[in-house]
Symmetry: C2
Subunit: 417 residues, 2 copies
Amino acid sequence: MESHFTKIKGGVGAPQGFLTAAISCGIKNPDATRLDLALIHSDVPCASAGTFTTNRVKAAPVKLSQAHLRKGNLRCIIANSGNANACTGVVGIRDAKAMCSGVAKALSLRTSEVGVCSTGVIGLPMPMVRIENRIPELVEKLSPRSGADVAAAIITSDTHAKEVAISFEIDGHTVKMGGCVKGAGMISPSMATMLCFITTDANLSSDCLRKCTLECVEESFNRITIDGDMSTNDTVLILANGKSGMTSIRRNSSACKIFRAALQYVMLALAKAVVRDGERVTKFVTVEVKGARTYLDAKKVAEAVSKSALVKSSWNGGDPNWGRIIHAVGYSRARIREELVDIFINEKAACLGGLQAPTPMDELRAIVAQPDFTINIHLNQGEASYTMYTSDLSPEYVDFNRSEYAYWKQARKDGLV
Amino acid sequence: MESHFTKIKGGVGAPQGFLTAAISCGIKNPDATRLDLALIHSDVPCASAGTFTTNRVKAAPVKLSQAHLRKGNLRCIIANSGNANACTGVVGIRDAKAMCSGVAKALSLRTSEVGVCSTGVIGLPMPMVRIENRIPELVEKLSPRSGADVAAAIITSDTHAKEVAISFEIDGHTVKMGGCVKGAGMISPSMATMLCFITTDANLSSDCLRKCTLECVEESFNRITIDGDMSTNDTVLILANGKSGMTSIRRNSSACKIFRAALQYVMLALAKAVVRDGERVTKFVTVEVKGARTYLDAKKVAEAVSKSALVKSSWNGGDPNWGRIIHAVGYSRARIREELVDIFINEKAACLGGLQAPTPMDELRAIVAQPDFTINIHLNQGEASYTMYTSDLSPEYVDFNRSEYAYWKQARKDGLV
């Protein structure tokens, strides 16, 4: 189905009726040279859906966006980077509300029509003095051609902005869908430290949108891992404003199938982009598990291999170390039989029946030296399969994450702590 | 009870009636400059017990030692470092058997009285040509004063040998207990990549010894983590030969309590030594969780914090980053309430009620700059507690684990692959 999606420019600003803007408030860096406050707005009401972190410690904007979604549909999203507004108690909730009500007031909306997202350092109060009085300016800047600014404004330790947009046909109507994502650290299944916003001018009910969103998140963002850490702020929000002019998509219709495939395409592209741009990542590795007794067994194996510090370290070193892979298969708690396990690296056998395969070591090393390869694990016990997307673990990742003290020093200077 | 244990010299050779030896066979390095084959032998029959990896991929020596323990009691242990004899199929089983039968023949024992352990690289055949014909020489060297050689012969990437020995009184008899351990990489709860041998001249039944061993392993080795990877070879073996002259310890007697406390003391000392000597570790961190609703909730929180790559990276940088700690508490799947969580670092409050505590940042930084500190996490929801011992994660750990290719090159030179 992918061949029917045409890549277009414009990111979240590409679909009809969506206006976007971003400004620099000095949340991410005090001299305000980087975009760090973004707004997405639909000029008509939307169907909307969201998925959120399953971490029991939830950031204030996560709690508030969840509450707003329960009340009805969103048609606006305000997001900042540099401060996660997490572990900030009642003050954090007040600040997140102020962000929403500032936008609602400037755009004459109900506060509950605004979603809010934050990403950055945990445990520091939001520098609201730098944000609140800038919201009218942010609204003023709304334009149909600044989707890329939103993608840039939400990144933190990412090395570059990540966005995608496609157009496709449903029942003779041209539909557009755009998305952007930030990732980099605290990336693990069950939602990453990650914000993802998707806009579309498709026409469908919230119910139908919610179902498609849950299914597609499960098969994209919930299948990536960088460091196995799950954030307090993970959020995917999607707005559908129906402006393509099509009639409303019914559940389980062929139109719904096309829409779902498009959403899956956009989410998977963004999820993979998150892994490729993980903190100090040098390898993109697809881990495919096949022949498991059950889906859950396949998932356990894929997750254990994708998260093993030793396996990921060996990939960083270009070492096709199948011994470490099978040891992770073994401790995954999946039902496996050592003597049945085959491991392939880009189709070349590294391990057959639990033993060293005859493939020359240098051939395997040449594959793992590449920046992108696939590990196939055949358990040979059943029909279930599961795929994950992961990265290597580099000394530079650890070095990069040794201290966030600079943030604290700045917060003290600002009188926040 | 600890005060009644007197530290003595001699390691696994300290208790009466135990003879030990170690030689260099060139398994660990081809020029045979490092001890890599060890033997522990009791001159009388023993009660014995063992615990083994729960990894479904088990090394050949693990399978064989388990089978021998099922048949009856061990009184000898042969162990090598440099090659794990894991993922080696029927050839591996044959090689492990050959190691046992070689020892049995030289000492006129049944093969099933010999336990066998291997540690090192996974997936390469054992270089038996270097081992088999050296066993008579190993037996020849048995002496009551070479416990330290065994400790040295089992280490791999450890920076130093780790052993302990104590003497204590039971019913007026002086009892001795000695132990040694190897750790360094693939260290995680549910048994580490780790070999641990304990000898004692206490007199007790195998049943009683087995019960004490299971309980003490649960409270020592199963509470440490370095990299979250569980090995294929983890083994704890304990031999008790009764030569102290005491009458046999009955289950649940006061003598049994003293013995159990001594075993717990030795195992915990060795388990902590494994963490302190973890691969490229610079910090020893005790994670104490209190006030959980259940033991399992406390355990989940302790494990999530102790294994988080982001938390461990921050410790490496001397950063008292409570935000990362509480985020791991949140994703642990334990039942916690963010607004009740207090986090202390060496008794100084870092987080109270889920929010930044008033302790000056510099005070917390001074503590985390030290090589040894304790994180206290109070969930304030119940009475259950759990403690784990963990380390930081250093860029040097990842760098160190980037490649085992040198081993493969040597194996090829030896004609093994």
